[in-house]
């Protein structure tokens, strides 16, 4: 049963760390990351019939 305590402790630690980093990032006000560029190819587009030459 002692392992339960350890598990709870580690989980809480991870949760607190997550919260801490999240708040830090939020306060920094920076919501743009390099990884966002990875979405560039996924833009939607439509198509129109090419004019006859």
């Amino acid at each position: 049963m002692k392992v339960l305590l350890l598990t709870v402790f580690l989980s809480l630690l991870l949760a607190v760390l997550f919260l801490m980093f999240f708040i830090l990032q939020y306060r920094k006000g920076s919501f743009k990351g390099t990884e966002q560029n990875a979405l560039r190819p996924l833009d939607e587009e439509t198509s129109e019939v090419a004019p006859r030459k």
Binding site: G33, T34, E35, N37, A38, L39, R40, P41, L42, D43, E45, T46, S47, E48, V49, A50
Partner: protein
């Protein structure tokens, strides 16, 4: 609030044209490939077969336009520049417009790019079988076509960079980085390796000779693979794989590491094509080391590509596009594992000059390039013609035919290469005697793998024909359509040219590059100040970065906003390896780099013979480089050891070769009689039973082009060959008459009648000169 919308219509007409051209030329290149594979099995395929299929109407022992030596360059050039080149343009034109959210900058430049490139290919298809060649692998095209290639490439570059400049998107996506690297690096490689002195409209000599030419050739040759067959494909992978899988690339950060390490490391690896030769040891070690290092970034790219399919693996069952992409990226990984392996000197001692290398190259071109092209075409066709793919079943059949074809091809080349490599090195009697002294014996041992290669290639070709039919039916069933996108006017952020320069990472990058260039290209006080300035700017940049509490992401993002600075950094990363390897070798006095031996210059007749040797593409099957390896020296050395650097110092172009389908010829001179060569060129099997070499009957009919020799000798003199300055045309003619009369007289003694003005006499003169040198202290 009302938002103004701007509609952008992409130029997909160019994409359609490039795609159709790629498929057409792909078919031509593969037909040529299968055809020359049959020639390696059946010598009759060098022209004699025409006698059979025309039921004797066409009589010939061999057709000059159809020999392996002339068609192999056609196959490689068509596969690289026509098939993959057009596919690359299709992929670049399609994705660049979407990633920049703007139409290509100039429709006129796009049209010039397309039609100019096709014109170049047609010129190549005519000149290569006609025997007009520069005699350097993948750089065979003659100088007027070289200029055309450079012009059309610059038109493409102008159109691409202009489009980047007009983009409606701040940042440059990773695919575009790879395109930038392709454009700037190919420009640099192509120009340097094609520097030539023309002697006529169809002939020129490269300005580099011997070891210098070898180094520059493989700096170019290896990086043609790197920056023409790999970086643009990676750009295409980074765009089309996420598109097809409908999910972003696995790790964008990994792609940053992938890009910069690949661009920096690739360029150093060229000397691995010259391992165990007389190339200076430090260059060989650098080539091997960087080739091994290259494994890491290549696999970063492969893993990034494959893991992009995370959660979409089920599509492998239903979507042929994903099937082709997954296989292509896997082949990229396998080929880039095998490449570093073959670059280890001890492995290379076995593999080099054998079919193992050919198998390696084909796993890259057929598996990586060919399958990526197929995946891209199957994905594009329904979108470009606004319809559904004609037949998914046919696409699946194509996939499996292609896959089995590649595996048959590659496996047979492993068997063939390792078998022949081992046989050529095997000794008996305590290592004092070669076990298989006859080269033909080793050819006999690989006949089954050679046949399997032909079958594998045919499978791949049939699969490709199915694709061509499938795409044609798709196009016929649909209507050409252009992609459009609507963007809000306020979204369009036009980069401010002046303001974008006033950014810390840009300024530091440019200042550091300037200082490093000062160090590399100057001496004395400027050299010292270059070192100090480099150190100074690096420290200031680090200090600024630390104190401003900026993040790497921010600084890198600023670089991506600025296409110019990004391109300059790319040029620098790609150029540094080449500069460090090539500048010392090229600027060194050739007289200091001859290892105690100096080649005896060719007489006019021998020079004419050498040009025939180059024109017939003999270098495609025969090397002229005895490596610093015991079996090589035992087999070809003739008591003179390995080929020293000075023995090819007057060879423009160098003829060290990269494949031994036949034996090495570095010391051929004096080894056999004139009549042996005469009869051997007429019918190799008459002299050497089991030989696969073509017959060369036209050499006995065509006259030596004596009138071209004064110009050629003048060019040679400009390049440093010690021909007398006062050599008149009459002197040249007199020398030719004298030497050819001697050869004809020797042939007459063997009861062979020969005319002194025929090409065969010049070729015999050249072959008998090979390996002639003076000893210098």
């Amino acid at each position: 609030m009302k938002t103004d919308k701007v509609t952008i219509v992409y130029d997909d007409d160019s994409v359609r044209k490039f795609m159709i051209a790629s498929i057409f030329w792909g078919l031509i290149s593969m037909v040529a490939g299968v055809f020359i594979a049959t020639q390696l099995n059946f010598w009759q395929m060098n022209g004699k077969f025409l006698e059979w299929i025309t039921f004797g109407l066409f009589k010939s022992e061999g057709v000059e336009f159809l020999t392996f030596g002339r068609l192999r360059p056609l196959h490689t050039n068509a596969a690289i520049f026509a098939f993959v080149g057009n596919m690359m343009f299709a992929g670049v034109y399609y994705s660049t417009q979407r990633l920049c959210r703007v139409r290509m900058a100039s429709d006129l430049l796009s049209k010039i790019n397309f039609w100019g490139w096709q014109f170049i290919i047609v010129c190549a298809a005519v000149t290569l079988p006609a025997g007009f060649t520069r005699g350097k692998e993948y750089a065979e095209l003659i100088w007027p076509i070289n200029i055309l290639v450079a012009v059309i490439w610059l038109v493409f570059a102008a159109n691409f960079f202009w489009t980047l400049g007009k983009r409606n998107e701040r940042s440059l996506y990773v695919g575009l980085w790879f395109y930038i690297a392709t454009i700037v690096t190919i420009t640099m490689l192509y120009v340097v390796n094609h520097l030539s002195i023309p002697t006529s409209f169809t002939h020129s000599y490269p300005i580099f000779g011997g070891v210098q030419d070898a180094l520059i050739q493989w700096w170019y040759g290896h990086n043609a693979v790197a920056f023409f067959l790999t970086t643009p494909m990676l750009g295409i992978m980074y765009y089309f794989v996420p598109k097809a899988a409908n999910r972003p690339v696995y790790s964008y950060r990994l792609s940053i590491i992938h890009f910069w390490s690949l661009v920096f490391i690739y360029i150093w690896a060229g000397p691995h094509h010259l391992l165990n030769t007389s190339l200076p040891e430090w260059l060989q070690s650098l080539g091997m080391l960087f080739s091994l290092m290259l494994w890491a970034p290549s696999w970063a790219g492969m893993l990034n590509g494959l893991l992009t399919l995370r959660g979409a693996w089920d599509k492998l069952l239903t979507d042929p596009v994903i099937k082709f992409f997954a296989a292509a990226v896997t082949f990229y990984g396998m080929a880039t594992f095998e490449g570093p392996l073959l670059s280890i000197k001890s492995v290379n001692a076995l593999s080099h000059y054998t079919d193992w290398t050919i198998g390696h190259v084909h796993s890259g071109t057929l598996g990586w390039n060919g399958f990526l092209a197929a995946g891209m075409f199957y994905w594009l066709a329904p979108r470009l013609w606004k319809t559904k793919l004609y037949s998914v079943t046919l696409a699946n059949v194509h996939f499996w035919l292609g896959m089995v074809g590649i595996l048959l091809y590659v496996a047979s080349m492993w068997v063939s290469g390792i078998t022949q490599g081992l046989m050529l090195s095997e000794t008996i009697e305590g290592g004092t005697v070669l076990k298989y002294p006859s080269f033909v014996e080793t050819i006999d041992a690989i006949r089954i793998p050679m046949l399997t290669r032909m079958i594998g290639g045919s499978f791949y070709l049939i699969g490709f024909i199915l694709m061509a039919y499938n795409i044609w039916k798709t196009a016929r069933g649909g209507t050409p359509a252009n992609g459009t996108v609507e963007i809000a006017a306020q979204d369009i952020e036009k980069p401010n040219w002046t303001k974008s320069f006033c950014s810390a990472p840009i300024i530091y990058s440019l200042l550091i590059i300037f200082s490093v260039c000062l160090t590399i290209f100057s001496n004395g006080a400027l050299f010292i100040s270059g070192i100090f300035l480099t150190i100074f700017f690096v420290i200031v940049a680090i200090g600024h970065f630390e104190f401003s509490s900026a993040s790497w992401e921010e600084w890198y993002e600023k670089l991506l906003d600025h296409g110019f600075a990004f391109s300059v950094l790319t040029i620098f990363a790609a150029a540094i390896g080449g500069a460090i390897q090539i500048i010392p070798t090229v600027t060194m006095q050739r007289a200091d780099n001859i290892e105690g031996r100096l080649q005896v210059p060719y007489t006019p007749l021998e020079l004419a013979g050498r040009d025939i040797y180059v024109s017939e593409g003999c270098y495609n099957c025969h090397s002229q480089m005895i490596r610093t390896l015991v079996p090589d020296v035992m087999r070809y050395g003739q008591d003179d050891g390995y080929s020293h650097l000075g023995e090819s110092v007057y060879d423009f172009p160098y003829q060290w070769g990269s494949k031994r389908t036949g034996p090495d010829l570095a010391r051929e001179g004096g080894l056999r009689s004139d009549e042996w060569h005469f009869l051997h060129m007429l019918n190799p099997r008459q002299i050497s039973e089991g030989s696969t070499m073509p017959n060369y009957p036209w050499l006995f009919k065509k006259e030596i082009k004596v009138h071209q020799l004064p110009n050629k000798m003048n060019a040679m003199r400009m390049l440093g060959v010690p021909y007398p300055i006062d050599l008149s045309e009459e002197d040249i003619q007199a020398q030719i008459d004298e030497q050819s009369a001697e050869i004809v007289a020797r042939l007459a003694k063997a009861n062979i009648f020969a005319e002194p003005d025929k090409e065969i006499i010049a070729l015999i003169a050249y072959l008998q000169k090979l390996g002639t040198f003076e000893v210098r202290e």
